[in-house]
C-alpha cells in the first residue's frame, strides 16, 4: 500500500532524538535539518501493510506478559508495518560516508518521519474501525517491553509485509529497509486503551533520552 508523506517533519521530535531539546539550535544545524527534509522527501517511498486478524489466529506471536496486558479485553488485532523504503537507506549510507554531522541529523529525521507515517496510518485505521463501532488500542511493537524482537520474522510473515510493503527481516530479526516500524494494536467492541510496558522491562532503560528527561512513553497518548 502506497502512503503519502506528511506536510511537515516534526522538527521538535527530531531535536529530541538528537538530545537537543530546549537547547539553542545554531544555523548550521538548522541547515542540515532543512537538507535532510528535502532529501528525505525525495528519497522516501513510504509503504504500509496492514492485516486485521482474530487474536486466536495470531497466538504464536503473543509471547511475554506485556503484549498480553496491552491486548486485554480485545478480540482481534491489527498488525501493521510501515517503511520509508530502501531509497532512504541508500541516502543514509551515502551520508555516513560523506558527512557524519549530516548523517546523524538525517538518521534522526528519518526515524521521526517513519513514526509520523505510522501515526497517521494508525489514526486512519482507528477511524475506519470506529465506523463499525469497534475500538482500538495504541501501537505496541516487537522488541518493546518483554515482547521479544525475535517474533519479528513471524510477525512480518503473518502481516504478509514483504509482498505488501517490501518489508522483511534479517537473520538477527532487524527490519529491512532499516527505517521501518511494525506494531500490533488490539481491537475490541468496547473502548480499550491498551497498556504500554513502561521502563522496567525496556531494553533501552539506561540510554533512553525520554527517560533522562524524566518522562516515560507509557504516559503519553494513553
Amino acid at each position: 500500500m502506497i502512503r503519502t508523506l506528511p506536510q511537515e517533519l516534526e522538527q521538535a521530535e527530531v531535536l529530541r532524538y538528537l538530545g537537543a531539546t530546549g537547547k539553542p539550535m545554531p544555523n548550521s544545524v538548522q541547515a542540515l535539518l532543512q537538507k535532510a527534509k528535502e532529501e528525505l522527501w525525495q528519497a522516501a517511498s513510504p509503504r504500509a501493510a496492514t492485516k486485521l486478524l482474530p487474536l486466536e489466529q495470531i497466538k504464536p506471536l503473543l509471547q511475554g506478559k506485556d503484549i498480553l496486558l496491552h491486548l486485554q479485553g480485545c478480540d482481534s488485532g491489527v498488525l501493521l508495518g510501515v517503511t520509508l523504503g530502501l531509497g532512504v537507506d541508500t541516502l543514509l549510507r551515502r551520508a555516513l560516508a560523506m558527512d557524519m554531522a549530516y548523517a546523524v541529523v538525517l538518521d534522526a529525521a528519518a526515524s521521526v518521519l517513519v513514526e509520523q507515517i505510522a501515526d497517521e496510518l494508525e489514526q486512519q485505521i482507528r477511524q475506519s474501525l470506529s465506523q463499525q463501532n469497534r475500538f482500538m488500542t495504541g501501537r505496541f511493537s516487537p522488541g518493546y517491553g518483554d515482547w521479544p524482537i525475535s517474533v519479528q520474522p513471524q510477525f512480518v510473515q503473518y502481516l504478509d509485509a514483504f509482498k505488501q510493503a517490501g518489508l522483511c527481516t534479517t537473520s538477527s530479526c532487524l527490519l529491512t529497509p532499516s527505517k521501518s516500524v511494525t506494531a500490533l494494536c488490539g481491537v475490541a467492541n468496547h473502548p480499550v486503551k491498551g497498556r504500554q510496558a513502561g521502563c522496567t522491562t525496556c531494553a533501552l532503560r539506561d540510554t533512553c533520552t525520554k527517560r533522562k528527561e524524566g518522562k516515560c512513553c507509557a504516559q503519553e497518548n494513553f
Binding site: 537537543a20 554531522a101 546523524v104 538518521d107 534479517t170 538477527s172
Partner: protein, 787 residues
C-alpha cells in the same frame, strides 16, 4: 541462444494463483502453504488439475517459499518439500503433456548491501531447491515475484551452475515502474538477457491494465520471450477481494497480443475460471514479437546507460599514482572509496571505473567489497577494472546489473580466461589493442588487434554491441609521434569494425605541466574522432565542460537543456573564491566551519610549526567542543561539525608535515566494527570520526562483521584497542562472541564496547575492558592506552 521453453506458433497458457486457492481450501494465516504438498497433497493436486482442465499447458509447483531459510523451523527439508510438490504436479499432469515449472519465490531476506544476506549464501539456498527440482524431474525453473535484481541474478546463476534446465525469470513492479528495491523494468530485461535467462516476465502486484506499459518496456529492452501473470486487478483494502472478473481479465489481457507475448497466466486472485476465459480469448493467437535492434547499454538495477558518444566513465577509484587511494585500500577505508564515488556521480560521471589493484592486499576480496559498497551509495553502473580473472569474477558475481569488464587484450591466454567470465556474468568488455609484443605504433596495426579481439569475443558468445575497444592513449611527453595514431585508430575502429570506443584520456598528459589543459584538448579531438567512452576525471570542470559542449554540438543535448542547467547561472568564467582567513582556526573548529578551518589552517601554517598548531590550537579547540558536549551546551551534530572542520585542518597539517619530509605518525591503530548481524552503523562511525580527530589511526571494518574478521584484523594491524558496537538486544550475543574470540586468540588487545542497549553491567559480564557511553568517552579510553 536461449533454450526453447514456449512453443512459437501458439499462445502458451501458464496457470493462475496457488496461494489464494489454498486459502480458499482452508490454509490459515501464518501457515506455510508449501507444506500442504506434504500434509494435504490431494488438495494441491486438485488445484493443479483444475488449471490443467481449464487449459494451462504449464503448471508451477507449490514451492514459492521453499528454501532452507524459510523452512528452518518447519521440520521438513527442501528436498522433502520439493519432491512432494513435484509429485503433486506430476500426478495432476498424468496423461497430458503439461510442463512442470519449479516455482521459486524470493528468499525472504535482503541481500547485501541492502540487508545482511550474502550473495553466495543466496546462491547456495537457490541451488538446493534447483537440485531437488532437477532430480524430481521438472521441465524448467521459474523464478517469480522477485523484487531484487541481484536475487534474480543469484537464482539464474544457481540454475546454470546446477543443471541444464531452462530458466524463466519474473519480477514484480509497483505502479511507479520500479520494484520495491528500485529496480527498473529495463534493467531487468537487459540484465536477465545478458545473464542467459530463457524467458522473462512480470507477475503479481497489479492487474493487467497497470502491467501493460511495463511489459511493453520489457519487450523493448530484450529479445527474450516475454510472459505475463497479473493479479485479478487490485485488492480492496478492507476485504482483500480483487476487483476484476474472469471475463474482464481475459479481455484486458488481449491488449498484450500486439506486443507478441509468448505466454500468459494469472497471479493472486485468479482461479481456473480466469484461465478458461484466457484460453477462449487467446484461441488462434500467434505470438509475433518485433525484433529489437541491438543496442549498447549497461545498467545498474536503478539506472540504464546507453553508450553514446561522450559517455563519461569516472577514473578516480584507482590507486595508480594516487597516494590517498593507496592508503585507503591498505587500511580498508571503504568510506574514502565511497566519497570518491559520490563526488564523481555528482560531477556528472555516468559510469564509474573501479580498480583496487595493490600488490599487498587481497585484491579479489577488496573488489567484491568495493562493488557492494559502491552500489550501496550510488546508482551508477560500474566498470570493473583488473587484468586478473579471479579479481574480476569476485566483482562480477555480486554486481547488480550489467557491468563493463576492463579489460582484455589480444593475447590469446587473456582472451581465453576473461571472455568466458564476461559471457557468464553478462558483462560488456573493453579490449585493449595490445598483445605480448606491446602496443603497436601504427593505427592500422591497432585496428588489426581490435579485429582479433572482436572475433574472439563473438566466438565466446558476446554480442557485438557489448564489445568496446580501447586504442590506448600514449603519453605526449614520451611517445609524442604516436599520439595522433591513437586518434586515427579510434576513427577506424568505429568506422571499419562498427564497435564502441574507449580511451583513458588523462594518460596523454603525464610528465607535462597543466595537465588539465592537454587532457581537455585531447578529449575534444578524440570525441571528434568518434570516442564513445572517455575514462576521465569528471571533477575537472574544463573536461566536463568539453563533454557538455560536445553533447550540444552532437544533438544529444537537445535545446542545450543540460548545458543550460549546468552553466545557466554562470558568466564566462567563475570568479576565483577569495582566500579569506577572517575566522581564526580555533573559532572555525568551534563553530564547525569546514572550509574556513581548512584555509585558516593553511594560513596559520605559514608561520606556525605543524605540530605546534595541532597541540596549541586544534586539540584545545576539540577539547572545548568535547567539554561543551559533555556539559550539554552543544549537541551531537555540532560536535560532528566541529570534527569535520578539524579534519579539514588536519589534512592541511598533514600536507605541511609531509612537505617537511616527515611522515605524520598517527597513534594506534584502533580496530572498530559493528558486530555480526547488526546493520546500524551510525554510533560506530561517530566514534571513528572523533578518534580520527584526536590523531588515532582507525581501521573501520564496517557493519555486520563476523567475530573471525575482527580477530583477523586485530592480528593483522597489531591493534592494542578494539572498539565494538551493537545496537540491538538480538546482536549483543554476537558482541559477547567477538570478545570471547579476541580473548581466546590471546592477542592482548583491550576491547571497548558501546551501543544503545548496552549497559556498563552487561559490558562487564561479557568481559569487555571498557564501556564507552559516547564518542568522547572512547577518546578517553584511547588516551589511556596510547597516551
Amino acid at each position: 541462444m536461449p533454450k526453447r521453453i514456449f512453443k512459437k506458433s501458439i499462445c502458451n497458457l501458464l496457470d493462475g494463483a496457488m496461494g489464494t486457492m489454498l486459502q480458499q481450501a482452508g490454509l490459515q494465516p501464518g501457515e506455510n502453504p508449501d507444506l500442504w504438498c506434504i500434509t494435504h497433497p490431494e488438495a494441491v493436486t486438485e488445484i493443479h488439475k483444475a488449471y490443467i482442465q481449464a487449459g494451462s499447458q504449464f503448471i508451477s509447483t507449490n514451492t514459492f517459499g521453499t528454501n532452507a531459510y524459510k523452512l528452518q523451523n518447519s521440520g521438513y527439508t527442501v528436498q522433502q518439500v520439493v519432491q512432494a510438490a513435484v509429485a503433486c504436479a506430476k500426478k495432476a499432469a498424468e496423461g497430458t503433456d503439461t510442463k512442470i515449472l519449479l516455482n521459486i519465490g524470493p528468499l525472504g531476506q535482503m541481500l547485501q548491501p541492502m540487508g545482511t544476506l550474502e550473495f553466495e549464501q543466496a546462491c547456495h539456498w537457490f541451488k538446493e531447491v534447483v537440485a531437488a527440482g532437477a532430480q524430481a524431474g521438472v521441465d524448467a525453473v521459474y523464478l517469480e515475484t522477485m523484487t531484487d535484481l541481484l536475487e534474480v541474478k543469484a537464482g539464474i546463476l544457481a540454475v546454470k551452475e546446477t543443471c541444464d534446465l531452462p530458466v524463466l525469470a519474473s519480477m514484480t513492479f509497483e505502479q511507479t515502474g520500479r520494484t520495491f528495491t528500485g529496480c527498473l523494468v529495463e534493467s531487468f530485461g537487459i540484465t536477465a538477457e545478458a545473464l542467459g535467462a530463457d524467458a522473462v516476465g512480470i507477475n503479481c502486484s497489479l492487474g493487467p491494465a497497470e502491467i501493460l506499459p511495463m511489459v511493453r518496456t520489457l519487450c523493448e529492452s530484450c529479445n527474450l520471450p516475454v510472459f505475463v501473470k497479473p493479479n485479478a486487478g487490485l485488492p480492496d483494502p478492507i476485504t482483500n477481494q480483487y476487483d476484476i472478473d474472469p471475463e474482464q481479465f481475459a479481455r484486458l489481457m488481449q491488449q498484450y497480443q500486439p506486443l507478441g507475448v509468448a505466454a500468459v497466466g494469472g497471479c493472486c486472485g485468479t482461479n481456473p475460471e480466469y484461465l478458461r476465459c484466457l484460453k477462449k480469448h487467446f484461441a488462434g493467437y500467434v505470438p509475433h514479437r518485433i525484433h529489437q535492434a541491438p543496442q549498447s547499454k549497461v545498467c545498474s538495477t536503478m539506472q540504464t546507460v546507453p553508450i553514446l558518444p561522450g559517455t563519461v566513465i569516472g577514473e578516480r577509484i584507482n590507486p595508480t599514482g594516487k597516494k590517498k587511494m593507496k592508503e585507503a585500500l591498505r587500511m580498508g577505508d571503504m568510506d574514502y572509496l565511497l566519497t570518491q564515488a559520490v563526488e564523481q556521480a555528482e560531477a556528472g560521471a555516468q559510469i564509474l571505473d573501479v580498480n583496487v589493484g595493490l600488490p599487498e592486499i587481497d585484491e579479489a576480496q577488496m573488489m567484491r567489497q568495493a562493488v557492494l559498497a559502491i552500489q550501496g551509495v550510488t546508482e551508477l553502473p560500474l566498470q570493473l577494472d583488473s587484468t586478473r580473472a579471479d579479481v574480476l569474477e569476485a566483482g562480477l558475481r555480486v554486481y547488480n546489473g550489467k557491468p563493463i569488464v576492463n579489460s582484455v587484450n589480444a593475447e590469446s591466454a587473456v582472451l581465453a580466461s576473461i571472455l568466458p567470465l564476461c559471457k557468464k556474468y553478462g558483462a560488456a568488455v573493453v579490449g585493449l589493442t595490445l598483445n605480448d609484443a606491446g602496443i603497436p605504433a601504427s593505427a592500422n596495426e591497432r585496428v588489426a588487434l581490435a579485429k582479433q579481439i572482436m572475433d574472439a569475443a563473438l566466438q565466446a558468445g558476446i554480442p557485438k554491441e557489448d564489445i568496446y575497444i580501447d586504442c590506448l592513449t600514449l603519453t605526449a611527453s614520451a611517445q609524442q609521434k604516436d599520439v595522433w595514431d591513437t586518434l586515427r585508430a579510434v576513427r577506424m575502429v568505429k568506422e571499419q569494425l562498427g564497435l564502441k570506443t574507449v580511451l583513458g584520456v588523462s594518460n596523454v598528459s603525464f610528465g607535462l605541466p597543466n595537465r588539465a589543459q592537454l587532457n581537455t584538448s585531447f578529449l575534444n579531438m578524440a570525441l571528434a574522432h568518434g570516442l564513445d567512452l572517455p575514462i576521465m576525471n569528471p571533477n575537472e570542470p574544463t573536461m566536463m565542460a568539453a563533454i557538455r559542449c560536445f553533447r550540444v554540438f552532437q544533438m544529444q543535448d537537445e535545446n542545450a537543456a543540460e548545458y543550460i542547467a549546468a552553466y545557466g547561472n554562470q558568466t564566462a568564467t567563475a570568479p576565483a573564491a577569495a582566500a579569506t582567513s577572517d575566522v581564526s582556526l580555533y573559532d572555525a573548529v568551534l563553530l564547525g566551519l569546514k572550509a574556513q578551518a581548512g584555509s585558516a589552517a593553511q594560513f596559520a601554517l605559514q608561520q606556525t610549526d605543524p605540530q605546534d598548531l595541532v597541540n596549541q590550537v586544534l586539540i584545545p579547540a576539540l577539547d572545548e567542543v568535547g567539554k561543551r558536549f559533555e556539559e550539554g551546551t552543544c549537541f551531537l551534530p555540532q560536535l560532528l561539525q566541529s570534527a569535520g572542520a578539524a579534519q579539514a585542518a588536519f589534512d592541511a597539517v598533514k600536507c605541511a608535515i609531509e612537505q617537511q619530509g616527515e611522515n605524520g605518525v598517527k597513534k594506534g591503530p584502533i580496530v572498530v566494527a559493528t558486530v555480526k548481524g547488526d546493520i546500524h552503523d551510525i554510533g560506530k562511525n561517530i566514534v571513528k570520526v572523533i578518534l580520527d580527530n584526536y590523531g588515532y589511526s582507525v581501521v573501520d571494518l564496517g557493519r555486520d562483521v563476523p567475530p573471525e574478521a575482527v580477530v583477523q584484523a586485530a592480528k593483522q594491524y597489531d591493534a592494542k584497542l578494539v572498539g565494538l558496537s551493537a545496537l540491538m538486544t538480538t546482536t549483543l550475543p554476537a558482541m559477547a562472541e567477538t570478545i570471547a574470540q579476541l580473548k581466546q586468540a590471546g592477542l592482548g588487545c583491550k576491547v571497548m564496547v558501546g551501543g544503545a542497549v548496552l549497559t556498563p553491567d552487561y559490558a562487564k559480564m561479557i568481559e569487555a575492558d571498557f564501556y564507552v557511553r559516547d564518542a568522547k568517552a572512547s577518546v578517553d579510553v584511547a588516551k589511556q592506552i596510547f597516551g
